[in-house]
């Protein structure tokens, strides 16, 4: 890794999140360095989704601080996160099935034209969508196709592709390969590596050890809302990670 990568781009310190009496996260520290792919692993209910939703601005932490590029920040909404340069690809894909490709590509931040600033610049939407998809080598049917008619892989490609043009410095991906076949998964993993080459940092939540060890530089393990492991990939093994996920005492 290059020398200036010493300073983390994103740093969570002592993050706790309580939902009523449920402690979803308990005093978790989490860093992401520039141009690094961090895998976030753990069993169901370990707190992975809660952690990334805090970074994405969907939840606010009960306790703890977030630093972005060494500045303390508060992320109150998805827009706050996007403005900082944090983009998220959700597990549920978060696409609107009843809308076409460009409408989903620009969901929530449609470009406007004219003095009133209320009319959507459809031409720019279509052009930018075509350009980004071509740059990434993503193949979709005609852009006017509703997302309803796209396959699982095409939807995933769209969900990932649409975070690309915004110059995000940190990209969060929640289970990006969960619903995909072998070939489509390969494509998504390639996209993640491409992102890293372009200078982004990526947080990948995944259950698939093969995929994790394929792309990640570092692996962070959560269990019961606490961080129980933080290993560089080349200093650990899938076996060790699995033991951390389920709790070593159980084996």
């Amino acid at each position: 890794m290059d020398p200036e990568a010493r300073q983390p781009i994103l740093s969570l310190r002592g993050i706790s999140k309580y939902f009523g009496g449920v402690h979803a996260l308990e005093n978790v520290d989490f860093e992401v360095y520039p141009q690094e792919i961090v895998a976030l692993v753990g069993d169901n209910g370990a707190g992975k989704s809660t952690l990334i939703k805090i970074v994405a601005g969907v939840y606010q932490p009960t306790k703890g601080e977030i630093y972005f590029m060494d500045r303390p920040v508060e992320i109150h909404s998805p827009h706050d996160a996007q403005n900082l340069g944090i983009e998220t690809v959700y597990q549920e894909l978060a696409l609107i099935e009843t809308r076409d490709v460009p409408a989903n590509f620009f969901l929530g931040r449609e470009p406007v034209r004219g003095r009133l600033g209320i009319f959507v610049d459809r031409k720019k939407m279509v052009e930018d969508t075509v350009r980004t998809l071509k740059d990434l080598g993503i193949v979709l049917p005609h852009l006017r196709t509703l997302v309803r008619y796209l396959s699982g892989g095409q939807r995933q490609a769209l969900a990932i592709g649409r975070v690309m043009p915004w110059g995000g410095k940190v990209i969060i991906m929640d289970e990006p390969t969960a619903a995909l076949g072998v070939r489509e998964s390969r494509k998504v993993l390639d996209l993640i590596l491409q992102l890293k080459e372009k200078g982004c940092s990526v947080i990948v939540v995944s259950h698939n050890m093969r995929h994790v060890f394929n792309v990640a530089d570092r692996i962070v393990v959560l269990r019961g809302g606490k961080k129980v492991g933080d290993k560089k990939k080349n200093e650990t093994t899938p076996d060790e990670i699995v033991k951390l996920i389920v709790g070593a005492e159980m084996l």
Binding site: P78, L95, I96, G108, V120, H142, Y149
Partner: protein, 332 residues
């Protein structure tokens, strides 16, 4: 698609075939049905395709259609507005009472519309802030507003409205050879405005997004409560406009007016391909849906069926239209 991997490679920015696009286009299908009805009726009757009859039909469904545009916006945003029939009666009564107290036409109409706009806003607040299901919230306001209509008039219709006001519903505008009813012209203007709002503005994009997948819209940073609020407010306003035109046409503001119209208004949207699950359709569909219903009523009269049978025919059309729509979506 039997070979998903193969086809995703082949389909690089290929336009779907004309037939597929036509079948996917609900408006084309609706226009086809409408055109078919007009053809059959012109052959079967001498009176249908006369300018007089056509303009009567236009005038008769213009109020329903205008209220249906507001309903469409709400349904597209994922809600439903059962209070639109009551709102139609309410705007007429408020305006009628003010007119009979000697206020100017402009003032009375604006206040009548302001009141239904507020009712719509209140619906929106109940749905977006109090998180009531739209069906329940607007079922409540439907009854509350109807109660106000009866209470404020003590059950008596308001008559002897000034001639200047009645002109709103009864004037015809000369256009080439024809005399087109003013409500029909207003209907087209509101259809265009609602279409632009939904299809071309950021708010419209967000309305479709909230109705299509509210959770996803929220994750994308869209203020879903605000979108719903605006949708209900517009529905209140447009129902009010429909009510004013209805009152001006009938010449009387009755507390019983527009009873049950909310179902016709919803039916127009549904026949027009606006899915009750939200996120789909447009106001042209609602306009054509309202037209199909009214032409059907007109046809039954012209063909000599007793008027009592009309609801049965309308019901059959609603079921048929939705089935065709579902089949179409599954097929392509």
């Amino acid at each position: 698609m039997e070979h998903p991997e193969l086809s995703s490679q082949e389909e690089r920015y290929v336009e779907p075939s004309f037939a597929v696009r036509l079948a996917r286009n609900q408006l084309a299908a609706l226009l086809f049905i409408l055109f078919g009805m007009v053809m059959v009726l012109s052959l079967l009757t001498r009176t249908f395709l006369t300018a007089n009859n056509i303009f009567n039909v236009l005038r008769a469904f213009s109020w329903i259609a205008i209220a249906s545009f507001g309903q469409s916006i709400v349904i597209i945003s994922g809600g439903i507005d059962l209070s639109s029939g009551s709102n139609m009666a309410f705007s007429g009564i408020i305006t009628g009472m003010l007119l009979n107290s000697g206020y100017s036409i402009t003032f009375s109409v604006i206040l009548g519309l302001a009141v239904t706009l507020l009712v719509g806003f209140f619906n929106g607040i109940m749905v977006s802030k109090a998180k009531l299901p739209p069906f329940i919230a607007t079922l409540g306001t439907m009854s509350i507003i109807r109660g106000f209509c009866y209470g404020m008039t003590e059950g008596w219709p308001i008559r002897s409205l000034p001639r200047g006001f009645l002109a709103l519903g009864q004037t015809d505008i000369h256009f080439f050879l024809w005399r087109i009813p003013l409500p029909a012209i207003l209907m087209v203007i509101f259809a265009i405005l609602c279409f632009i709002l939904l299809d071309r503005t950021k708010l419209g994009y967000h309305t479709y997004a909230v109705g299509g997948n509210e959770y996803a819209a929220g994750l994308a940073g869209i203020n879903t409560g605000r979108v719903k609020n605006i949708a209900f407010t517009l529905s209140g306003l447009l129902a009010g406009i429909g009510g004013i035109l209805m009152t001006a046409r009938l010449g009387v503001a009755a507390p019983t007016a527009a009873q049950g119209y909310e179902l016709d208004i919803i039916a127009a949207a549904v026949i027009g391909g606006i899915s009750l699950t939200g996120g789909e359709g447009n106001v042209w569909g609602a306009l054509i849906g309202a037209a199909i219903m009214q032409i059907l009523r007109n046809a039954l009269v012209l063909l000599g069926f007793p008027a009592y049978w009309q609801p049965a025919a309308i019901g059959a059309v609603i079921i048929g239209a939705v089935m065709i729509d579902m089949y179409r979506k599954r097929k392509v």
